[in-house]
Symmetry: C2
Subunit: 355 residues, 2 copies
Amino acid sequence: MIAFTRGVPPPESFPAEQLAECARSVLQNDAERVLQYGNAAGYLPLREWIAGECQVSPEQVLIGQGSLQLLDTLVRVSIIPDDCMFVEQPTYDRALTIFRRTGAKLFGINLKNGVLDLQELEAKLADGILPRFIYLIPDFQNPSGALMPLEHRLHLVELARTHGFYLIEDGPYRKLRYKGQAIPTLFELAPEQVIHMSSFSKLISPGLRVGFMLLPPELILKVSKFAEDTYINSSYLNQALAFNFIERGWLQEQIDFLRDIYSVRLNAILDELRKGFREMGTWVEPQGGFFVGLNLDAAHELSTKEEIHQAGLVLTDSQGFFVEGGERFIRLPFCALTPEQIREGMARLHHLLEV
Amino acid sequence: MIAFTRGVPPPESFPAEQLAECARSVLQNDAERVLQYGNAAGYLPLREWIAGECQVSPEQVLIGQGSLQLLDTLVRVSIIPDDCMFVEQPTYDRALTIFRRTGAKLFGINLKNGVLDLQELEAKLADGILPRFIYLIPDFQNPSGALMPLEHRLHLVELARTHGFYLIEDGPYRKLRYKGQAIPTLFELAPEQVIHMSSFSKLISPGLRVGFMLLPPELILKVSKFAEDTYINSSYLNQALAFNFIERGWLQEQIDFLRDIYSVRLNAILDELRKGFREMGTWVEPQGGFFVGLNLDAAHELSTKEEIHQAGLVLTDSQGFFVEGGERFIRLPFCALTPEQIREGMARLHHLLEV
């Protein structure tokens, strides 16, 4: 079976020996702090490092057990009945589940050829549909791999300012860029209108469960208090491991190492797409991240679960990425597969779609 | 300042060197599993160990980032509008906050001389007030230090069976018994009516953030799925550290070590209470755990925050332990203070209450 499913890092990417060294150091030098309860906002040295990286005050940084849980906390605190939320369509399925649970009315704004349809968004606003939040993954989007162009970022923050809503910018893939130049984040463009979230799951290891959120001053205390009331605090031990790893200069080395592995895998999947799938659908060529999204043409039906299984493939249920629809979309995560597995998997997929 | 506040373990109790050794071992032998995402239910070897200890199937064990978060997940999944919940009064303030957020109607059933008033409870049931859950801390209760007698345990599980509600049994202090013999848990008496929760925070370290819940088969899948949808999974690295610590035989050693420290501290605070506080109030003599609860007589007012601060003391706001009331109660955690600090703190408290 070849699994084009979750966007998980491959085990060969885990810096286990380095983390063991970090654990030794942290438990030798900071045991009283990392083994105790602490402030829900997180381990201060890591908050300060993130604040420095992102040019905010450490008071605006909230660290937690992965960024998804922080997103859940944010919407539990902020969403009230009859609220609306906009999301890119397709979008990250787990975020969509979090939003559905709030009871907010959800609207998917379509990505057209990988670009958010701002006309559709503005039409909603003109109709008087004002969102509390717009959730966006501007860098190497999950599940499409798309990159939001600068002019769209500028336009979005302008809309947020004018209409008084927040943009939630989810950026876990941003540092995994394999070609091209970085574009400013939404947060860099308008920190007062943007809640930025990211994590170390894709850069160090998901097992640490260390993610973070940058919140504007008017939200940080409310969200941190709710987090404290839910779980007291996330593990400082894990946060200290991440900080120690960074302090030793290993994060940049690790990112360079990941780029080397992943860019080869991205090229492998793009080669297969270009060779065999031009007649079947469209995709955006990602410059980074974990995913390519394949939009099937009307002539090509997605197979049934049973057919997919018989073909030796595992695919994520695409409808989870959409508020409505999603029957003609396939997410292809490429980082956890070797180039050989990618070639074999794409051959199987091609055969399946041809039938 | 002497802080009679949260029930945290003292830093001198943390087995930092042993945990460093566990980290080395776990990252050498099980890195692919502990550094990856995993099933929300938790790290299988630890689930299996807990299952063996508690005589349940591993499928009934859910491990998470501390037990409070699991409690939050349980009530988010289970409580529906117009539900009722009963709690001991006083009870653990953080659990009460979790319950208040659900919107359930809360009823405090009073502890009278440390014993749950079952007449009051049965009167509620006779009035047609049927709870979804009753939340209980039978062993060395937070905040009173009380121990629930066996006949009350038997009576409660009988009521749960008859009326068809669940008992939530919170047991983090159970293994910290300094005198007397263990009484069966509610879960041991009626596993089908009881949701048992506990954690390693008080036995190894709060910094690991490893707690667990035993759920009946009809609830486990729903609660685990909700947990997955909220945070994917809690850190397997931390869960593996706890398991490795246990596997080496260090948990029992650690518990013996903690009993030695804490029983001296319990005796110190009981000595002070007996010497100076008989005229001021009543308390139950705990056989274990972290707390003694002092109920002030009507003649003795609790001081204002300012007076308490000026006396060089920090006390938890007692009203947090009560659904209603709580003005005449003082929680005295004794584990994180040395006998000298306890003597000095109790002298200050005595002086304050005398004025």
